[in-house]
């Protein structure tokens, strides 16, 4: 038979089991923190009607969409989880209780040119809170507090959540007489870490910003200090613009609440260069960096949006959301050796019947292990003991429970530590359970 080369597309992540176990462990940790804060699960379709999904999209985003026809329908694969959320709350408005807190951790699709660290199919792990008519500014502080607990739990080193407020930026640029250029300025300054100060200035000038004002913009977005100092410096600018002043007040309220919510001072800071490219943000915006690896870029971003449901409903449904790009983060952590796969199996023990006759007893032992909450596997293949033990070792089982006629007769098993190499010892099933449970902790 002619063969087809078994391969996948570039830009798609597919893992070997040991890596997949590691990935799932991260996924489960994020999910458990999200749930511990009362976020509700949601699972929207991967395929949506283009008319609905792309109501707001345009430009770069639209080019990346996987869009196609099936029958009479113009369909698209979702490119994020925020637009489907906006569609969902608009459609189910009467069935939801607000503020509506939901998490969704699923794959999204962007047909970008594949490059290192960019994926076309990747997991986003989102939390959002949607208010009915209004949403307390305190939720802007709860978001980073949740993320703080997530990253603590992931245990991947120190990190800093950097935040800003679009009103501060917009109000400031308006006060410079640049109201008509705010979008371009935001997009440009957002790139300062990537392309550097000189190029930002050049791009600003190209966008029509007068040269003398580029200096003002650069000094502004590079204001530094702790959260209190930064707020003071902003106030000291004496900008007479109400949007600006509201934004500064919000920044102050949010950063104070972040302390109240248990975040250490060093876990976050105000960074006036953060703008977030997406134009739907209207207030607080966040990015997150792993301190030892700024080259990873932002590993968790989001912000406040007041009008995202405007395409679907007349209801005013302001929201705040933040998202971890898990596929990319996982790939960066693994490629840099910050995480490493463990054993190639989640089972704690392989039960190895020495021959056919001992299989029924081996099965009963495995059932007892499972009842005790110990995941385990049984080797049923008709191979020699050497090959069976080779399988146990290669698969990464921490223990093997060998069962021959003697063990069956005496109701015991020979427990072999596959990693410690301390030989094997005859134990009862109950003793084995105790040992295996201890090992777990």
């Amino acid at each position: 038979m002619e063969k087809v080369t078994p391969r996948i597309l570039p830009g798609f992540m597919e893992l070997l089991p040991a890596d997949q176990i590691l990935f799932n462990d991260m996924y489960d940790k994020i999910r458990s923190v999200y749930e511990s804060f009362g976020f509700l699960p949601l699972d929207t379709p991967i395929i949506e009607l283009s008319e609905v999904l792309l109501a707001k999209a345009g430009g770069e985003t639209e080019k990346q969409i996987y869009r196609f026809n099936k029958g009479d329908n113009d369909l698209s694969l979702r490119f994020d989880l925020t637009v489907p959320l906006a569609r969902y709350v608009s459609a189910h408005y009467n069935d939801l209780t607000f503020p509506f807190k939901r998490y969704q951790m699923s794959k999204v699709f962007r047909g970008e040119r594949p490059q290192k660290g960019r994926f076309r199919e990747f997991y986003q792990c989102d939390i959002d809170i949607i208010g009915n008519d209004e949403l307390s500014i305190l939720y802007d502080a709860e978001m980073p507090a949740v993320i703080y607990h997530v990253f603590k739990k992931l245990g991947i080193g120190d990190f800093t959540i950097r935040l800003n407020n679009r009103k501060v930026l917009g109000g400031f640029f308006a006060s410079l007489g640049l109201s008509d250029k705010i979008e371009e300025i935001l997009r440009t300054i957002d790139k300062i870490e990537k392309i550097g100060k000189e190029k930002v200035v050049a791009e600003l000038i190209a966008a029509g910003v007068p040269e003398d004002k580029t200096e003002t913009i650069i000094s502004f977005i590079t204001i530094s200090g702790d959260r209190r100092e930064t707020v003071e410096k902003l106030r000291a600018l004496g900008v007479e613009n109400e949007v600006f002043q509201n934004g500064v007040n919000e920044l102050e309220t949010v950063t104070e609440a972040m302390i109240t919510f248990g975040m250490p001072e060093e876990s976050f800071r105000i960074d006036l260069s953060i703008a977030r490219g997406l134009d739907y943000y209207t207030g607080t915006v966040y990015e997150t960096v792993i301190n030892a690896h700024p080259e990873f870029g932002s590993v968790c971003s989001g912000g406040r949006y007041d009008n995202l449901t405007g395409y679907y409903t007349d209801k005013k449904l302001p929201g705040i959301g933040i998202s971890i790009g898990l596929t990319r983060l996982f790939s960066q952590l693994r490629d840099n050796g910050l995480i490493a796969p463990g054993a190639g199996t989640m089972a704690k023990v392989l039960v190895v019947p020495m021959d056919k006759n001992t299989i029924p007893y081996a099965v009963s032992v495995s059932a007892k292990f499972r009842e005790a909450g110990i995941p385990c596997d049984v080797y049923y293949g008709e191979k020699g003991m050497k090959q069976k033990m080779k399988y146990a070792g290669k698969s990464g089982f921490p223990y093997a429970a060998v069962i021959g006629a003697d063990e069956m007769a005496s109701g015991t098993l020979a427990l072999k530590d596959m990693l410690g190499g301390s030989g094997q010892r005859a134990v009862t099933v109950e003793e084995a359970i105790t040992i295996l449970k201890e090992k777990e902790e």
Copy 2:
């Protein structure tokens, strides 16, 4: 602004939070049983190259595929998890340990005409075991044993795993001189429960089966009895066909091992009318019915396939797999009232600060709850107490922990049972934790 109606496509399932919690609970239970048997997680891409994914497909399947071009690539959304597995083991052959046991629980896509109970996007919860060159027949018994534990854990009533063997069918039809019609016969008899005996006979005649032989076929596929009786009746037919005899031996070995593996006699039976439409099965085949609801059809099906990787590799990689169509099963159970959503939240308690001043203490209480493993939410909106409590009730929180100035001063909280309605009582945080943990059990 002109509005786009927020809607999704027919045939796609999207749930309200209470239902989603219920769905996730089923998903998590299935996953935990799969993992307890040592199956490894896998997560293959949703988008694959059509050339690779459709190497084997054809006919009905191919028509249902979501297939499209992006750039120079001819792409398809996966329509099952078995073909991607065949691709995966062929590509990663050198990195895997065999027998390779994996589970995958993800969405697949079939652009069928939507009808009640049929979904275009749905979860399959698969386990498969792939052998290198050979795979012990005992794994054919382990599959239903795992499924037995899954359905016990789901607690949705009595069920029966019905099994058959393609060799028994193929061998028997060959012995009738119908070797060239086996595929059509299998496809036809598979429908006997749906369309009835008369239509099966008519279709068999239309397919060119001589009329007198249709009677023989019908009596054959309706052979009944317990597993031992059925095997005896099959042997008593005296069919002189080696494939048939091998098949009967396999059926006997597998059903005996199912008992060894802890399955009660009444949890399964041999059913010679089971053929499974997919042509890649080569030995054991399974279907599962909920006893009280045969109209659901098979809620879990699978079988042995010897040549599924043949399109990708010269290696001989026989496998056995079984799959739960979770989206459909969930929808059937819910529509028939066999499962019902519980509270609309996974959090056990809503912490309600009475005013702004009590927020910091409320936050510290919520942190203690979470540390104790109790998921909880805090209400930060600036509303009156009545509205806050209305939110707690409507959201389905079993408890509310109300915190005013008095509670803050005395280091307590007022715990209100939202369901029992036994008023509220002043307790310490530690007492509250004890109460909330008790409730959990």
